[in-house]
Symmetry: D2
Subunit: 390 residues, 4 copies
């Protein structure tokens, strides 16, 4: 149980690139990283607009001279300080992730990067290479994956409680962009522009989340081939899709489907993960993250609840408040940032033992997400055909 | 509101083929047909075992001499009586539907047939031809489609409350056959044997239901091409599938998915229909059939309830008990049988006006179901490729 | 499993008093009684308006000469026939139940009577005396109690799965009469007029249902004292209440609450029964009657489903369609009518063995309901004070 | 929307009494107060065991010399510093609240105190007097009340969307203490010992939460008289109750019920608030705090979701992440601490305008909670009789 005791020795000195005062996701990063004093926010290049970024940084308590105009200035200045930052989080539009992450790693910083990590597998592999070279970690912000019930699901699959996995049913399908909201909402605009968003919209923006969760829960499943059909229901979004369905064959014979959508009218978020085994199924839904439905065929459905004593040890380790009280998205993210910090500290110390027992969305997860999007887009572009994966 | 007043002038004289004392679905047909004295059960060939069939018929109140050894004897004997049956319901294993239905039509009987209607489109078209020739109706037992909330959904789509339809999300995915239950349960055995079941298992057994419901709710959507992947997770079921996913492109640009499964461990039935439009979505689930979720983007989700005054007129016409009290599967079937009876009477009288306003799963629905299964199987057999529909 | 085989030797010859074409509950009685040919409807006095009643009876297939102007004529004429009715169901406004039921019993008929059975315990005891005298049964139409999951709950309590019962939490609280609908809806008018409704509105109309269900599930609990507060939120309903809360102390130390309401705005029906034991709780809700929530403290909540093999034997005996498919109110009522028929036949034959194993809402349940209402009203009239029960 | 910008000029210098490393609720206070740098934790007397408390404080980053042995030492030392704390949160067992809060106020500190505020109305009034005298605020930790959907409910009631309020249905009924867990769990032990817990267990521990939420949502309702029945199902807890039901008459004619329980086996928390008006009802449940059910009679139930544009302005002001993503208990508490900080700053500045528009669980809410418990206990002790309130 977490009661505010930091799991690392000292707060990690930390900066952000992006995540400014008008951004959607910046606050979530800060809430998560600053929780329990895991990180100290001491520098940043928070905004595409340097002035606005500086003002915002100051409001957040960052010294004015450590609020920089852009990431290059930031990394250079911090590298020059004895108390310079040790890690940076990147929460900018997708097109900038690669360059910023690479520069950060090259400056000797640990990186937490937003998803999708970059635009191509080639780029992703390059980041992996640099990170290895520099002995730095890359954490990817698959925030939902930090929910304790995901750990529970993983433990149950590992324990064989589902039997052989047969089906992986994933969805992240909301309706917030049913209309062409980008015409009036600039924060949506870049998401449907390939220059900024990359080769996909909902596949990269949404699909990578449940794909990572499925990898976490059932790590032994490897995609063999996949097929993707994508659509642009709001015409002006083409070539980027606002809806997509991907079919996946795994090499153990399991079958998977992923439904990504921003036009599922009326759905609040609808990230759902259902894993079906020969004996039982598990289902998790991001809007009720404290519950996990465990459905053994021929037995009553069981609703497992976060924080309860019957859960696996690793599913209660990150509990903050006990069962019954709802923990939400912010706690999931804080759990991830907690693990990022441990990974950073352990990496810097070369503490392999600690790293071995630690799991978080790392550079491999980042690469995998990009690979999956790339394959989906390739299939869809070819008319929705099966393509080999790997 | 239905209060037991028959909508036809007299009960229709009725027989059953199959649906014997050990059958799964026979009782549902009788409960539905005899409700409100719509039909009178006066003859039958209820069982593959003539003696058992006769004994059961007598128990049901049928005169012993009208309990026949097989359908041929039944149709011949009844045709010879002045008070012979006017209609027959066929509730036998799939492989017999075609021959029995054809013989029934040729004997001048109206037919209610279980799904799937037959094994091939060619057979289905032949039944349609004979039915037209004999001026008899064929009703298909898509029982769930009789739920009042399906009428409500249809009315709302017709009224444009969803905007243009974009997505059709269908599932009928239960877990009752996760294990190889057919090894010990004979009633399951024929379902996974192509000789009796036909070219598919779950596509025909389950998929045809939501496909018909979707046709009912959004009749203007026409499938342009589809792709199907199917699996036999219990190996001995091959070539018949126990899980299948079908993707569908409609000619207006809408996209559909259908998940059929008998190995969705722990799921009780899981027939779900979600129709997504540009403005709003509708969702219906067979285990809570009295509720319909109406989800207008940017508005609170609304839960519509059967029997309420705010529903469309056609959605309350078949109400039996008023809002709040749950109506279930039996009422849905009774609604269908009520419409079958009206169709029979109106057809016999040549009352075109009445027929024009009546909708029920008719021969065209039967043909369509067979066509859909045939196309899915063709796609799956070819490795899960897109094939043109129609 | 019920597949339409009658459990009695022959259909019971049956009449109705009330339950005419405009009545709310008449159709439910007929649907239940005629299901599986348990009863044959052969006579009646269906309506306060004799002509309308006769016309309706004829529509239902009753011979015109057996459609009578009132219950006296009905009982007299039927008593004179060799094939006269054996049983009558009474579905008239409350004020007439006592006289009609007494006359029916005195004519040698079995009786199924709507709730509340009558207006006072004295009347109820008198009916009990006459029934005993005439060796006839009185069944009370607590229709919801026929749900299979109520049997399951009873079996689990009997098996000690909950531990000692501590709390009984009952509610039947809908919102349909939030406004003064009686001003425009005549079917509601009599319900709020003491002349017709008796000493209470929601206590008798609604509360008696969950009270009987609780007696069924936990028959060993005996009310020791109770306290009731009642309100008339629509002022013109006074002295009759449209909302009431009753507290109950049981003699084993358990504590109970009952919330009855017709002004619980927006609630569809809200009949809920929660039984809390030292180890576990059970919860049932009439709008999702196929599910029973079983909540063992420190274990995941389990959702039990109608029709499953893990249920108690007596909870699947009345299954009609198998698990997954929803059975609703009509099946619950049909189950009760099936038991009423068995009770009638067994009583006539003096088959004590069969009666011993049979449970249905009988005259004692009827008396008990009236006693409970009487006590609640007495407490409420005295200002909401504790009064001894029994 | 909150994005981490502090609403006060500077972080408030803050200490805690209690809430040590083994405590249940301490972490929640810190998470809430430190969120968005609203407060800076700079001193404390965290534990009944001074050594353990000091070690824990140091772990939290508090200077060792500001970790004190007890509250007296803390207040004295801090008062002597120019940079001494401005506010203190009290998270100790109930019996100490009064003395500590009084001492804190007298030392010129703002106070956030756990509920119940103290043991008697006399004590509560005395705290109110001292607070007024010292011009300091007292905030009470009714943490759930900080949920945004509570603001929404308040706004809707104020706007008349429910019509006149008729019923207030409150519950806080969990099952975690179904067994005598206090025998092995020391953290539970004091809760059932009157010396530490005060005159009640579940009434004060649980009931005060929904009572405050109801006051927030429907501030115009005033309790006129009430009646309480309480039980000790685990016998050794007597005289303290582990279950209680309170009935309340409000002076506008509305009627209320409160169910408090720690023996509602299997229930995770079950804090539910249902407000029923003449036209519509609202229902909120702490385990799904992001949803609010709005039930207008004769219309479909609407599910309102946190963060959506259709909500009242004050219900989205504290949004942190947008709709669809779940916010949980921690965000609710952080909202309250945010308001506490604003109240402290405004009070110190004498900014009456800002205070006028601010609402938080203040000293009056604290007094009211104690008054309600006192009245409930008085009624229960007298055998469950009606007693006048106020
Ligand atoms: N993990 C999740 O659940 C999640 C959720 C939302 C967004 N995201 C991802 O987070 C990233 C940011 O998304 P957002 O929704 O916050 O976008 P946004 O457009 O709302 O905000 C982007 C922020 O980055 C700043 N910025 C842009 N370019 C910059 C640059 N070159 N240098 C410094 N700052 C720059 C902007 O000023 C702004 O503050 C995207 O990659 C997105 O896919 C992830
Ligand atoms: N519409 C639905 O929801 C639904 C549900 C279940 C089954 N079905 C369909 O109903 C049909 C029957 O299925 P079931 O589950 O009841 O099968 P079953 O095996 O349980 O029962 C089949 C019945 O038909 C009898 N029978 C077999 N061959 C016969 C013959 N040649 N002549 C007369 N009687 C014969 C058997 O004796 C038995 O009584 C199938 O086509 C199935 O797909 C439909
Ligand atoms: N068990 C349940 O769930 C349930 C539900 C609804 C009603 N009820 C009960 O059923 C009874 C009838 O209620 P309702 O809602 O159908 O009432 P209603 O007013 O809708 O119908 C009453 C029927 O009785 C007829 N009638 C009246 N007086 C008669 C008389 N003296 N002789 C013959 N017929 C007469 C009327 O013509 C009408 O057909 C009431 O006691 C009510 O409490 C029970
Ligand atoms: N608002 C809520 O939702 C909520 C939830 C839980 C508890 N509470 C309340 O919080 C208070 C504390 O409850 P808890 O569950 O954390 O109790 P706990 O027994 O788990 O912890 C009490 C803490 O106070 C410390 N302590 C005890 N006496 C002290 C003293 N004289 N000086 C300094 N420290 C002292 C203990 O060492 C321990 O750290 C209680 O009043 C309880 O009712 C409120």
């Amino acid at each position: 149980m977490i009661v505010g005791r930091r799991q690392t020795e000292k707060p990690i000195r930390w900066a952000m690139v992006g995540g400014g005062g008008t951004s959607q996701i910046g606050y979530v990063h800060r809430s998560a990283a600053l929780r329990d004093r895991t990180f100290d926010l001491v520098a940043g290049a928070f905004d595409i607009d340097p002035e606005r970024g500086r003002a915002f940084g100051v409001e957040l308590g960052v010294a004015p001279e450590r609020c920089h105009a852009d990431y290059r200035a930031l990394f250079a200045a911090e590298a020059a300080r004895p108390d310079g930052v040790q890690a940076v989080s990147i929460a900018t539009p997708n097109n900038t992730h690669y360059a910023i992450a690479k520069a950060a790693l090259e400056s000797g910083l640990h990186v937490v990067c937003e998803k999708p990590l970059c635009f191509s597998v080639a780029e992703a592999e390059e980041l992996k290479r640099v990170a290895a070279d520099k002995r730095k970690i890359v954490g990817v912000a698959y925030g939902y994956a930090g929910h304790q019930m995901i750990e529970q699901a993983r433990a149950m699959v590992a324990a064989g409680e589902l039997g052989d996995i047969r089906l992986v049913n994933l969805a992240f399908a909301h309706g917030f962009h049913s209309a062409a909201v980008e015409e009036t909402n600039p924060a949506t605009k870049w998401r449907v522009d390939p220059t900024f968003a990359g080769p996909s919209y909902v596949l990269g923006d949404l699909g990578t989340h449940p794909i990572y969760i499925a990898e976490t829960i059932a790590p032994h499943l490897k995609i063999k081939r996949l097929l993707c059909a994508r659509q642009s229901f709001v015409k002006s979004r083409a070539p980027l899709e606002d809806n997509a369905v991907t079919l996946m064959e795994y090499d153990n014979g399991a079958f998977g489907t992923v439904w990504c959508s921003a036009v599922n009218a009326g759905s609040m978020h609808g990230q759902k993960v259902r894993i079906v085994g020969a004996k039982a199924s598990l289902e998790w839904w991001d809007e009720r993250p404290n519950q996990l439905s465990f459905e053994v065929q021929d037995e009553p459905v069981r609703i497992l609840e976060r924080g309860m004593g019957y859960l696996a040890r690793q599913a209660t380790a990150e509990d903050r408040i006990g069962a019954g009280h709802p923990e939400g998205l912010f706690e999931a993210w804080a759990n991830l940032y907690g693990r990022f910090a441990v990974a950073m500290e352990a990496t810097d110390r070369g503490d392999r033992g600690r790293l071995a027992n630690l799991r978080y969305p790392d550079i491999d997860a980042g690469v995998e997400g990009v690979r999956w999007v790339e394959a989906c887009v390739r299939s869809a572009e070819a008319g929705g055909v099966w393509i080999d994966y790997r």
